[in-house]
């Protein structure tokens, strides 16, 4: 085990608090993940990556920086990774899945701000996030009001480039978003000094598409009649997708998928064929937010999909390949990202239809809608999800919770009762 203390000190972390965080994280991880039975062998790679989440990967970032590369941190699936990579940058999804530094965060943010926003503030203020502290630029976006206003404050600590994401899917909105994609490209070129050429962008479009294809392959295989991999493991992989090296990660996912195909052929799985199948839908679950999946799979149900930003909302569409010049490619990028069915859009009917489609394709017995407490877009939209699913006869459980562990027992009761209700 290497020691990274020197590196963390240079990044300005609070070493004592950071050590406490890592200890808690590894305890939480092993209690949830190590207790799983019959995991695929290829999970070893992802276990390793998570064990080095603040170690080896951060070291790689420092090495990249030493070579003159820029590290760009993001919080949202609307930020085109292709452009970051084409500008020779490293793209990193930032920490926002744990209750860390909330007291400090609440000096800036109202108490009733969602956990995700409080978390990225808390990590920064408590000096716990080596990713944020490695970033040369943080990219925000105008999705929900909470994030939008929080970035203004976050900008005091480190530079934030805010992309304007529109609120409707009109043609005008799309051209606005297209202009924001162009503006982001220029900002990246100015930051990195690397011109985004057709050749470079063509290559990175492929890299990111391949990552999406690998994840989609996983998302398809996991839902086999005898699920070959747990929902917790699949979620972990979808989480790691945000910060690992994209090419290495894609290879690891494909290797895992080869093993899963083998398992399916041999009827090997993590659950029996008559296990209750759950589709999760709603807010993203950033590392280490495994609370609900751990409860769900603890009741011996299996999660067969995540209709979420850390899930298929991040992977489902690819950018059209085969464009000739940069302008065409930027248009293709705009088209792809503009299809994202985030609850900050109004109306957001595509999402409702997609949940139904997923529940049917994945043969889910029921859907659990997960919203982070105080996340207005998803909590309010959950009513429309409920109505839509009711009209299709698909059972739904709506949950609203935060990153704390106070309500675990009450959540267990609800989730178990839901399972009793939908058991075939």
């Amino acid at each position: 085990m290497q020691t990274y203390e020197e590196m963390w000190r240079n990044l300005g972390l609070n070493l004592d608090a950071h050590e406490g965080l890592l200890k808690a994280l590894s305890g939480f991880y092993s209690s949830i993940y190590a207790s799983q039975k019959n995991r695929p062998n290829a999970m070893k790679y992802f276990d390793f990556v998570i064990s080095e989440v603040h170690g080896l990967r951060i070291k790689e970032l420092q090495e990249a920086k030493a070579q003159g590369k820029k590290v760009i941190g993001t919080f949202c699936v609307f930020v085109p990774e292709e452009l970051i990579l084409a500008a020779d940058g490293v793209c990193i999804g930032l920490c926002a899945g744990a209750e860390a530094g909330f007291e400090l965060a609440e000096q800036y943010l109202p108490k009733n701000t969602c956990g995700l926003i409080k978390s990225f503030f808390g990590f920064k203020l408590a000096r716990l996030c080596p990713y944020a502290n490695s970033c040369d630029l943080v990219v925000g976006e105008t999705t929900c009001d909470g994030k939008k206003k929080a970035y203004e404050l976050f900008n005091e600590f480190q530079p934030v480039h805010v992309m304007e994401v529109p609120q409707t899917k009109s043609e005008n909105a799309k051209s606005l978003f297209h202009s924001e994609v162009m503006r982001f490209k220029e900002r990246l070129e100015a930051l990195t000094g690397t011109k985004i050429t057709a050749e470079r962008l063509q290559k990175t479009i492929q890299i990111v598409n391949n990552k999406r294809r690998a994840l989609n392959r996983l998302n398809e295989l996991r839902a086999a009649p005898i699920p070959p991999i747990s929902g917790l493991d699949s979620l972990l992989i979808n989480q790691i997708a945000f910060y690992d090296d994209p090419v290495r990660f894609t290879n690891a996912v494909n290797e895992l998928c080869d093993e899963l195909e083998e398992r399916i052929k041999n009827n090997v799985g993590v659950a029996r064929g008559d296990t209750v199948r759950i589709l999760m839908s709603g807010c993203p679950m950033a590392i280490p937010n495994w609370k609900i999946p751990a409860i769900v799979e603890g009741t011996e149900a299996v999660i067969v999909g995540e209709e979420s930003c850390v899930g298929v909302r991040n992977t489902r569409n690819t950018v059209a390949e085969g464009c000739k010049d940069v302008n065409e490619m930027l248009k293709a990028i705009t088209e792809r990202y503009f299809q994202i069915d985030c609850a900050t859009f109004t109306p957001n009917t595509e999402r409702l239809n997609h949940i139904v489609e997923m529940a049917e394709t994945l043969k889910a017995n029921g859907v659990i809608h997960y919203a982070i407490q105080f996340c207005q877009p998803y909590t309010i939209e959950s009513k429309r999800v409920e109505d839509m699913l009711a009209s299709k006869g698909i059972p739904l459980l709506r949950l609203e919770t935060d990153y704390s562990m106070q309500d675990v027992e009450a959540l267990k009761t609800r989730i178990e009762a839901f399972k009793e209700l939908i058991s075939p």
Binding site: E400, Q406, D407, T413, A417, E420
Partner: protein, 248 residues
Amino acid sequence: MKIAGLDVGSRAIKLVVLQKGECILKKEVATGFDYVQEVQTLLEEIQPHKTLVTGYGRHLLAQHMGFEHVTEIKAHAKGVHNLFAEVRTILDIGGQDTKAISLNPNGRVHSFVMNDRCAAGTGRFLEAMATSLGCSIIELNALALRGSNDFSINSTCTVFAETEVISLKAQGANPADVARAIFKSIAQRAASLLNRLSINPPLCFCGGVARNKALVQELKAMLHMPVLVPEQPEFTGALGAALLASMT
């Protein structure tokens, strides 16, 4: 053959023992810190052939004593259906949570909702309110039955509701009227939870809090439907657990 149903709640442990389908024992003890020990003592002289556990403590008991477990939702549905086959809606208010359950005509759970993590409107809330009026829950109920409909308590938070009670006291309000306002506020909260389901009459109100007649009256008035209360409403979960145990 003796079959036991246990409902290990946040405030009390309830036990129902069945023999040849007849209830031969009902017993309730307060939930202490070591409820595994309490349950062992409770079951010592009965020596049931089979025990099924429900309630907040079900996981710990399942782990320590190897009992099968079900949620309170399923247990209450079973218990209530056994007592009143016509019931289509259940309101269960216990020590720290409130559950609204809608049943199919055959008694199976159709859907359910629970209160959020906050304990407002639960048995715990009632205890806090009684304390702030300087009386017991039994006295609070008796007071409320004589109270007028002049006041209301609007806060849904236990702490703020206490502040409201204190300020009503300071304004010289009659304790009976304040007591009634307390039950009205619980009924309102329960009704809003129930209204998140599509509810059908009749309704069965169970759980320890259902012993308060003042609350039953407020609910009837607010929901405009018949409200049935079992003779010992705190035992429906344990009864349901015992019935489910005898089925498997």
